[in-house]
């Protein structure tokens, strides 16, 4: 889209051809030349695949196509399947549920930790912050191997601790069922994502002035009342953005699910990302994989609009 704009403008500027304009023209061209490499890169690696995917989502790839026949046009049939086929709809429903549960848990725990940071003294705050930073910095795949080890059914620390607390979890196979797998995935996702929320909200909290809080408490406001009528309105913009980003990120969860499936692979544990992968890479069903990908992209864009508009406001 941006490149179309630039073409129009260069032609437009080039149309005026008097000597004093020549220099102006050079200056005018500069910004377009500067953004050109980035645009080419994006068109190549994202624009073209996106276009192909939109095209493929209206097609049907079958056995014939593996021998070189062009795919058949099927209109919106693939999109209809998303909402009618019970397997596909099951994946979509599970993904949305997983996304909402994870986003809510992450934001609630993140806000609680931010409030806690605000309530303790400097030394303890630093300890908490370092712990959160280390968790945040862990590469996803490394974090996954550690969590799989912690939840290992034979020698995992989690089964050991739960069993020694009196619950019978010895040799409990967490990753053997879809529910167990989602539980472990939720623990990992929340553990990884909470630090970002906690730090962002804490930065917002430091903007709330001490005097206002003190005045409110002298006027008899309980701490719950102070939280709902002073703190929440103050951190509301940050809270909205953080919650939005969590929803977007948790909708596309892939690495965690994929890695947890590696060790046991219970049936029916796919979420959108892993299901698209299975369809596209393993089964060669490009049309359905494309339609689901477009579905994910549309959801993402719908959720992103508010966040992007906020960023644009910051730009001007």
């Amino acid at each position: 889209m941006a490149s179309a704009h630039s073409d129009v403008t260069t032609i437009h500027v080039g149309g005026a051809a008097a000597p004093p304009v020549a220099r102006r023209r050079k200056v005018r061209l500069a910004p377009y030349l500067l953004i050109l490499p980035a645009i080419i890169m994006l068109l190549l690696a994202m624009g073209y695949p996106l276009g192909w995917q939109i095209w493929a989502s209206f097609m049907k790839f079958g056995l014939k196509q593996q021998f070189g026949a062009p795919p058949d046009f099927v209109g919106l049939a693939n999109y209809v399947t998303i909402f009618t086929d019970s397997t596909v709809w099951g994946v979509v429903g599970r993904s949305l549920l997983f996304c909402i549960v994870n986003a809510v848990l992450t934001v609630v725990i993140g806000v609680a930790l931010a409030l806690l940071m605000n309530a303790v003294n400097k030394a303890i705050r630093l300890i908490l912050q370092i712990a959160l930073l280390l968790a945040w910095a862990m590469p996803v795949v490394a974090a996954m191997t550690v969590w799989i080890w912690l939840f290992d059914w034979r020698r995992g620390v989690i089964n050991y601790v739960l069993t020694s607390m009196g619950f019978n979890f010895s040799n409990y196979v967490w990753l053997g069922t879809a529910m167990g797998l989602y539980f472990v995935a939720t623990v990992v996702v929340v553990w990884m994502s909470v630090p970002f929320v906690a730090f962002s909200i804490y930065a917002g909290l430091t903007q709330v002035s001490e005097e206002v809080m003190e005045a409110a408490s002298l006027d008899g406001a309980t701490s719950f009342k102070r939280f709902t009528s002073i703190i929440v309105p103050m951190i509301r913009p940050v809270l909205m953005i953080v919650a939005l980003l969590q929803i977007i990120w948790d909708l596309r969860v892939f690495t965690q699910i994929r890695m947890l499936q590696d060790s046991q692979m219970p049936l029916d544990s796919d979420l959108l990302g892993t299901y698209i992968y299975r369809l596209g890479v393993s089964s060669g069903d490009f049309s359905m994989a494309s339609a689901l990908s477009i579905f994910v992209l549309i959801l993402t864009i719908v959720f992103s609009i508010a966040y992007v508009l906020q960023l644009v406001k910051e730009d001007s």
Binding site: T9, A30, A45, W52, A135, M138, D152, F254, G280, V308
Partner: protein, 291 residues
């Protein structure tokens, strides 16, 4: 008035003190929970498998050694994956930063038609998940025979990090007043000379920060790599690390080696991350760091 106010104040102060201690204890417990997996990775990486698979876990690495690290390094596949990761990461970071820097100059130093559309497009593209495009990217790369190549995966990484890097650098370029350059030109510098002598050195921190961002993204990336790099000898470090888990289906997992391998992958990331985290957290723009 004062006589009634005083005891109330003392009472609240006392209550504040008690709650401070309670909150402090809770904070320490939560800090321990959050740091435990990281600690457990380090601790397990130092212990031999005999101890790791005993029925009671050993919570401190007494009697630990670097044997697991030696075994992982001598396996041969680690160095290969490391070399692959280095090539992909280096290529992606250098090209992405260069392209992003040029585009950031355009949007922060020039007013031009289509600027707003470009900024908007970048911000939206930045949000698009790899999971929503990887099948088409896989098809495209396979049709131009770039599957299992450094170039193929790097092109996708560059496109993935360029939008956010442009946005990040835009802030840094905008922070340097154009008047500085103009006054250098008044003093007889050429426009290019003014730029390289005045603006460029001031930009260094911004370039470092966005370079580290691009590094973290490329180094940790899993999804695109999984799709594009399917051949065993072309694995990057995250894919290599995953094979330890998939291999465990067949035989007993050597957890000591897995944890040593994870530590080797994680350490450069943790160091770089801690260096830039202040900049990444300040301002919510940093959001996209989660990958």
């Amino acid at each position: 008035m004062t006589t009634t106010a005083q005891p109330v104040a003392r009472k609240t102060r006392h209550r504040v003190k008690v709650s401070r201690i309670v909150f402090g204890v809770i904070a320490i417990i939560l800090a321990l929970i959050w740091v435990f997996p990281v600690y457990w990775m380090l601790s397990s990486s130092l212990l031999p498998n005999v101890i790791l698979t005993s029925s009671t876990p050993r919570f401190f690495p007494w009697g630990g050694s670097l044997d697991n690290y030696k075994a992982v390094m001598q396996g041969g596949t680690f160095l290969k994956a490391l070399w692959m990761s280095l090539q992909v990461t280096l290529l992606s970071v250098v090209v992405a930063i260069l392209f992003a820097f040029l585009a950031a100059l355009a949007i922060s130093r020039f007013k031009f038609r289509g600027r707003k559309g470009f900024v908007l497009a970048i911000l939206f593209i930045q949000m698009l998940p790899a999971e929503g495009l990887f099948i088409a990217q896989y098809k495209m790369m396979s049709s131009v025979h770039l599957l299992n190549t450094v170039i193929g995966v790097s092109i996708l990484y560059i496109a993935a990090v360029v939008p956010f890097t442009i946005w990040m650098l835009r802030g840094f370029v905008a922070g340097i007043p154009a008047e500085l350059e103009e006054s250098a030109q008044v003093d007889g510098c050429t426009p290019a000379g003014a730029f390289f002598r005045i603006t460029f050195p001031l930009l260094a921190p911004g370039l470092v920060a966005s370079g580290v961002y691009a590094f973290l993204q490329a180094w940790n990336e899993f999804t695109i790599a999984l799709v594009i790099l399917q051949r065993e000898d072309m694995r990057t470090l995250p894919l290599w690390l995953r094979t330890f888990i998939t291999a465990s289906q067949a035989r007993e997992t050597d957890w000591g080696a897995v944890m040593a391998a994870s530590t080797l992958v994680a350490i450069p990331v943790i160091i770089f991350f801690l260096l830039v985290q202040g900049r990444l957290t300040s301002g919510l723009v940093a959001g996209a760091v989660k990958g």
